[in-house]
């Protein structure tokens, strides 16, 4: 079958490539753009390890065809923070032991990043609802929730100081 011409903006950078429509977005991101932050956990739409931000929504990129993403703006964990310039969420996950093996962490943080934009001052219950699409086999979630609440408080303080 014919390949199609794909245009994607990933972490602010424009990319053009040829891909088969059936290719999954996670494979395009990891194998063609070499952004290996988003992980493949279950590959069956359940675990959220492959979460990326697409047009302002958290999506499981193992369940999106490359073709559907044509024209999209995508942010991966690589676009959220960088070594030496960590995002407050990344700082908070480190501070509060929000990770152990780290496999789920890129998806967790990418999801939490969008969640806090929609709800900057969530309750603990709202964090748990908002993060329900991301599974972690190590931490028992307690410290992930703590980290997100702490990052929210930190981000709100920074925002207030700027105003």
């Amino acid at each position: 079958m014919s390949k199609m011409h794909l245009k994607l903006t990933v972490n602010g950078e424009a990319h053009e490539l040829l891909a088969e429509p059936r290719e999954l977005l996670i494979h395009v991101i990891r194998e063609r753009l070499n952004l290996t932050g988003p992980h493949i956990g279950c590959e069956t739409s359940h675990c959220g390890a492959c979460t990326v931000d697409m047009n302002g929504r958290s999506v499981k990129s193992c369940t999106v065809f490359a073709a559907q993403a044509n024209g999209a703006e995508i942010t991966t964990i690589e676009g959220i923070g960088a070594p030496g310039a960590l995002h407050p969420l990344q700082e908070a996950f480190r501070e509060h032991h929000g990770l152990q093996c780290g496999f789920c962490t890129p998806g967790m943080i990418t999801r939490a990043y969008r969640f806090l934009q929609e709800n900057p001052s969530p309750s603990e219950a709202e964090v748990r609802m908002g993060m329900a699409g991301n599974l972690c086999r190590c931490t028992g979630y307690q410290n992930i929730v703590k980290a997100i609440l702490s990052a929210a408080a930190e981000m709100n303080t920074v925002k207030e100081a700027a105003e």
């Binding site: 199609m4 059936r22 069956t44 739409s45 499981k60 369940t63 065809f65 559907q68 044509n70 699409g133």
Partner: protein
């Protein structure tokens, strides 16, 4: 977990989408949010030569409320349903149901049209649509027709929609009443072991109208007229609710699967139907 190859189409209006379906016949399938279809294609349980993506068709999007008349475009996502204030006021049960579907990531992309057109008995919206007595609009090569949600389902993955038809929208009358959607699932994000929708109207102390429907308790959604009839004219006392639950259980035929044997499902169904009725009555 890579699906078989296909040609991809992204029409920008309904006429073009219908033309593509017409051209490729049963080799073509529309994709909405893709969160039921893509997993099936990855498992190669669905082989599709032509995928017609509906995402750029503006006419399939949006929510319109005019008095009690509600129209929801097929491509409206669960996330958009949850966030819509007018809808939360007109028919709060839609928000309550949508919040119990899958998880945030799935709700950002999964559409109401895909949920009702899919025909999977595990989908939550079909029973709700039957409870609300909603009507589906189907556009095909010879124009549009309307089908009542209560008539639309014929079996697992079998509906009255023809292969060359696209579901464009859903409409219903939002006439109030106490509303509740109760769902039992093994874990967050799971399909229902049993779920029930109830809408009850109260006139003084008695129930003047009742509509009860159920999810994943047969190979299609079940609207139980008998359960509603058991409540109308009563004060929804314990014995009346017992009778309604018994009537509803008489209308289902659950299958044994990895959510449990038939006896267990009937047991859970009884509890969930009762909770939905009690909750709806408390809100009436």
């Amino acid at each position: 977990m890579i699906p078989a190859a296909f040609e991809y189409h992204r029409p920008t209006d309904l006429a073009a989408a219908l033309a593509t379906l017409g051209e490729f016949g049963d080799e073509a399938r529309v994709v909405a949010g893709g969160h039921s279809l893509i997993p099936m294609m990855k498992l190669r349980m669905a082989e599709i030569g032509h995928v017609v993506d509906l995402q750029d068709i503006a006419d399939l999007k949006g929510i319109r409320i005019d008095g009690t008349a509600v129209w929801i475009g097929a491509m409206t996502t669960q996330h958009e349903l949850i966030g819509h204030q007018g809808l939360a006021a007109a028919a709060p049960i839609l928000r309550e149901t949508a919040l119990q579907i899958a998880d945030p990531q799935v709700r950002y992309v999964g559409t109401i049209g895909g949920n009702v057109a899919n025909g999977d008995p595990g989908n939550d919206m079909p029973a709700l649509m039957q409870c609300l007595d909603a009507t589906f609009t189907l556009a095909g090569p010879n124009g549009s027709r309307e089908v009542a949600a209560r008539d639309f389902y014929e079996g697992a993955y079998v509906t009255l929609r023809e292969d060359d038809e696209i579901l464009t929208g859903i409409r219903f009358e939002a006439t109030g009443g106490g509303q509740a959607y109760e769902k039992q699932k093994r874990k967050i994000g799971d399909y229902a072991t049993a779920a029930a929708a109830a809408i009850l109207k109260k006139d003084g102390t008695s129930c003047s109208a009742a509509s009860i429907a159920m999810t994943n308790l047969s190979d299609m959604p079940v609207w139980s007229k008998a359960a509603g009839d058991a409540l109308v004219g009563t004060a929804c006392a314990a014995a009346d609710i017992d009778a309604a639950v018994a009537a509803a259980l008489g209308d289902i035929s659950p299958n044994a699967d990895n959510r449990g044997p038939v006896e267990f499902k009937r047991h859970v169904a009884g509890i969930i139907i009762r909770r939905a009725i009690e909750q709806a009555w408390a809100r009436a």
